[in-house]
């Protein structure tokens, strides 16, 4: 798994949200994106997922250009901002509907993933009545349940209690496999240091720093 971002610039309503981004991301690593609010972390994640297209430059995933060769990455699981689920269905029903699109997993996997994030798969409560933390957990479960090759988690620890944060941390660490790229954004430096092999700092749409674990240990 290889992601290449070359001279990527994105303008939205005359605002430069990403400017000349150059990045090479490879499988088997967890990359952490840090930066102030509005620095471009979420936009960069959207760019990698194919949800936005560049003003100039490109994103290449396994030598296929997003927006040219493919519309979206072949295998991606994303939690970006507020996850969109069907309000009237329970968590399990929502995940089942999503799982039926690609038919990669069965009910058992959905149940296991829900338990791992700390949700009760037998809970009949509709998504509309979920707390913020529960919605976040469901979003994480939806992103991870199909073992995607690109895992994008935008601030996954938002609204989670301490125990849930630990659960999610373990899940993210277990997601680190040779053929998978994990992209994570977080405001908590401790979480980033504990989880990520490389940290990429953004400011005003530009990459201002890139630290690898090796360099941090030095």
């Amino acid at each position: 798994m290889n992601i290449e971002i070359c001279n990527y610039t994105k303008k939205l309503s005359k605002n430069l949200v990403l400017e000349n981004i150059n990045l090479s991301l490879s499988g088997g690593k967890i990359y952490g994106f840090v930066g102030k609010n509005g620095s471009g972390k979420t936009m960069l994640m959207r760019a990698i997922c194919g949800l936005i297209l560049p003003t100039s430059g490109f994103v290449k995933i396994n030598n296929k250009i997003i927006g040219k060769d493919i519309s979206f990455p072949d295998s991606v699981g994303a939690l970006i901002e507020n996850p969109g689920f069907i309000s009237e269905y329970s968590g399990f029903q929502n995940l089942k509907i999503l799982a039926q699109i690609q038919k990669k997993i069965d009910d058992k996997k959905i149940v296991d993933t829900m338990r791992m994030v700390g949700l009760d798969p037998n809970e009949k409560k509709s998504f509309r009545k979920y707390s913020l933390g529960m919605k976040q957990k469901l979003g994480i479960a939806a992103a991870m349940m199909e073992d995607p090759q690109i895992l994008v988690l935008d601030e996954p620890f938002n609204a989670l209690d301490e125990a849930s944060c630990e659960n999610v941390k373990k899940m993210i660490l277990s997601a680190k496999v040779p053929d998978r790229v994990v992209l994570l954004s977080c405001h908590d430096k401790n979480q980033i240091n504990a989880l990520c092999d490389e940290t990429i700092e953004l400011a005003q749409g530009k990459i201002i720093r890139r630290d690898s674990l090796y360099e941090k240990e030095k």
Partner: protein, 278 residues
Amino acid sequence: MKVRLFFRLLSHDITEGIIHNRKFFIFAALLFIFIDFVYWHNISLYFSDYNSVVDCGVLDFFMNVFAGCDPFDPEANKGVDIPITWFSFNVLPYLFVGLYITNDLQTSADTFILRVKSRYLWWLSKIVWCVVSSTLYYLLFFVISTAFTLFSGNFSLTQNSLITEEFLELSTYGKSMTEIFISSVLLPWMITTCHMTFDAIISITFGPVVAFLMIVCLMTTSVFYCSEFLPFNFSMLIRTDFCAINNISIYTELEVAFLIIVICLFLGLPIIKRKNII
């Protein structure tokens, strides 16, 4: 694989856009009951002096909605005649088309669209959803109108020529039941559908509020001005060749409406391809 993905998307649209948006259809049903009740009551009063009972058929209710009005004639020394029934029936669907489509694009992006992996399939699903929603809208009116004819004790799917000619002042002389059905049901349905697809394109480009306002402007302009370039005219019986031989043929109008749907489908493809899903 693409076909299966498309039907998954369509199923999602029908669930979210129709079943979970049922409040809209409930409101529509109430409006239809009101429209039909007022018409049925007016017919009863108008023909109360007749020796025999004059009952409405289902098509009478459709013809009441789509009778339309004469275009504005500044030299006629007449006030503006706005067909409120026609207006309220027609404007309602556009309130929720744009809102659903833009809301779905924003909320379903990281769940459905990333799994379906095709912007084009998403757009195709929305166009088909417009057709399905429009069909359900008209079916709902059909069911409510049928209920009224059953309630009156004289069930009839057709129209009553006496009502059409005396009350609506529309001549059905020489018109086959097929022509009456096409003019008062099929053609208006096609017009609603083609404008829903137009609303969809404008919504994803400029937003649902702009789309709705454009539709209202088109409808209002159509009331005042009769032109083949304003398709809303085609859903008024009085402005088609149903009423006057020199007006545009209903079959041509059906083709134009179908063409608009196809154009909107293809026009939307490059728009959705470059659309930022934020």
